[in-house]
Structures are given as structure tokens and as C-alpha cells.
């Protein structure tokens, strides 16, 4: 199998280049990550992030044949050769397939990703009805792998100001939580030409989400919530 990988070593290289590898997958190699781990035994200078290898930690997000995805969830049998592996588009490259996620997580922190509730806590816990809990479905599953934000043109042009699909999906997760009392403040924070309204509903985010979530739908709901808020 031929794989062509984006290589960049800041201590040696002036700029990035593509390096070809020919490697035969073992019968046990099912996913792209299996092959990358095998490649690492051949060339230990190759760098990529990985941890859980089952689509939960979100660390092996990369651009695979032009689309963002998780190496651990991408079946080798679905890949067209040569397999082109590049780092997440638009993110600063630290080394090879490893990108700097600082800005991405700064946006995540800015939307205050925790329950805000100043009311007196009840004796045991804040209960939710099954319906209230169901509203978090499709939102809480986000693993912050950045596949969506790194595939969003609006995020490419304004990564410092636009919160991006991942951050906005997370924002909506807390806006729709019945236990959170800061919805109005959260919405007011988002009502900004950059933070929320850079989104042009291209839906690249939803196209590539490895968890099958729909950040574009969350953004649509935020805009409608803002509309209700102001009328």
C-alpha cells in the first residue's frame, strides 16, 4: 500500500514536503491508525498523535485523502491509493501530522463549557426529565477532535475570531441544558459578526464529523434562539 505523508520537522526543514511510503498491511491491520503505527516501526521520526484508538479521545484527527477524519475510525479498505495524509487544514503544524490546537481550545474555553447555575443546589443533584436529557443528544457526544473546525472555510479565514463549528456545538450543548441558567448571557456573547455569524451554512463541518454529529444544525438552532430572544 502506498501512503504519502506530509512531513515537517521544525529543527531540520525549511518547509514541509510529502514523503512516500510503501507498506504492506498485516492481516490484523484494519484501520488507518494500525498502518500508521506499523509505519512508525519502520520510520520512527514520523510523528502523529494517538491515544485510545477507538474514536473517543479525538487525538488522531488528520486530513485523509482531502477529507478530515480520525485515523482510528477510517477503514483501510475504504481508502483510495495513494493514501494522502496531511495535518488538519489551517492549523499551525508543530511537526508532521501534529498541529497546534491552542486557538481551538481557547474558543472552547471562551464559550464557558461548564454548567452555570447560581441557584441553591438541591439536597442531592439537579434532576432532569428524560425529555430534558434527550435534548443533549447529538451534542454531548462531541470529542473535540477539531475535524469540523479544520474543515470550515469560515474558520480558515478567521480562526482567531470565529468560534468555529466545534465551539458553537459545545455552546449549544450548554444553552440547551435545563440545568444551566446562563442561556441569555451565552446567547448575548455569541451575537457577534465574528463569533457566530461568520458561519455561512456551508455544512463542511457536518460532512466530516467522525461522530456523525451536526454542528451546522446546532448553529441553526443558536441563530433561531437568538431570534426568539430579541423578539
Amino acid at each position: 500500500m502506498r501512503i504519502s505523508i506530509y512531513r515537517f520537522n521544525p529543527e531540520l526543514d525549511v518547509g514541509p514536503h510529502m514523503q512516500d511510503y510503501d507498506v504492506d498491511p498485516d492481516s490484523g491491520d484494519k484501520k488507518l491508525l494500525d498502518l500508521l503505527v506499523r509505519l512508525k516501526t519502520i520510520d520512527d521520526s514520523l510523528s502523529f498523535r494517538r491515544s485510545c484508538r477507538e474514536g473517543v479521545c479525538g487525538s488522531d484527527a488528520m486530513n485523509i485523502n482531502g477529507r478530515n477524519g480520525l485515523a482510528c475510525l477510517t477503514a483501510l479498505s475504504t481508502l483510495k491509493e495513494p493514501v494522502l495524509l496531511r495535518p488538519l487544514p489551517g492549523f499551525p503544524v508543530i511537526r508532521d501530522l501534529i498541529v497546534d490546537m491552542t486557538q481551538f481550545f481557547a474558543h472552547y474555553h471562551a464559550i464557558r463549557p461548564y454548567l452555570i447555575n447560581d441557584e441553591q443546589p438541591p439536597e442531592r443533584e439537579r434532576l432532569q426529565s428524560p425529555e430534558q436529557r434527550a435534548r443533549l443528544n447529538g451534542l454531548y457526544e462531541c470529542i473535540l477532535c477539531a475535524c469540523c473546525s479544520a474543515f470550515c472555510p469560515s474558520y480558515w479565514w478567521n480562526p482567531d475570531k470565529f468560534i468555529g463549528p466545534a465551539g458553537l456545538l459545545q455552546a449549544y450543548r450548554f444553552i440547551s441544558d435545563s440545568r444551566d441558567t446562563a442561556s441569555a448571557e451565552r446567547l448575548a456573547y455569541l451575537d457577534d459578526v465574528y463569533r457566530l455569524y461568520r458561519c455561512r451554512t456551508i455544512m463542511n463541518c457536518t460532512e466530516v464529523c467522525p461522530k456523525g454529529l451536526s454542528p451546522s444544525h446546532a448553529i441553526e438552532r443558536i441563530r433561531l434562539a437568538l431570534l426568539r430572544e430579541s423578539s
Binding site: 529543527e11 477529507r67 487544514p89 489551517g90 503544524v93 441563530r223
Partner: protein
Amino acid sequence: MPTPSPGRPRFLKLPSIRFPIGAFVSIGHRLSGVVLLIGLPFLAIALEQSLRSEADFAALAAQWAGPWRSLLLVIVVWAAAHHILAGVRHLLMDLGIGSTLTRARISAWATIVTAALIALSSAARWLS
């Protein structure tokens, strides 16, 4: 001592990225919007001319007769068709109609194909 790289590169070579169909509708929406914006001052001039006199009104249609000008007109027709169709698609999706991925893909294809067909039919009429 190796020479360290001056900064961190970013991978953002657009031709290397495999864009979904919705992205093509979106960039088409932008492009067509710019075309229509450029056409706007000419529309204002045409409005004045159309009201000036009967001869000027009649001359308006004749001005667009040449093959190159007809081609320009076809481009404007495509721009208007694509912009309006993509715009209606967005308005509906804003209200949650057709905003699931499968439906959005279908409406994206429909937008591109219909706008192209409208442009082609106007080309068949004016350029032949």
C-alpha cells in the same frame, strides 16, 4: 547546527482538499453575488435610460444584441439564477427545512444543476 524553520507552516492548499458539494454551492453563491454587485450600477443606469424616452427604451434591448454582450448577459443570468436558488436554499435551511446532511446534499446538487440549465437555456436563446 540545523537551521530551524522560521515559523509554523499551515496546510491549506485548497486543490488538495476534497470539498463536499455544499461548498461549491457556497462559493458559487459568493461569486454570483459579486457578479450581481458589479451589475448593480448598470441596472441603475438602465433604469434611467428606460424612462428617458421611447427611443432610449427601445435602444436598451438592442444594446445587448452583440455576441460578447450576450455572453455577458448569460453570465448575469447564471449569477442571478444561482444566487436566488442558493439563497432560497439557505432561507429554508435557516428555518430547519432540508438542513439534514442528506437533504442538503440533494438541494446543493439541485441548485447547481438548475442554475446551469437556466444559464444554458438563455445561452441557447441569445447566442444562437
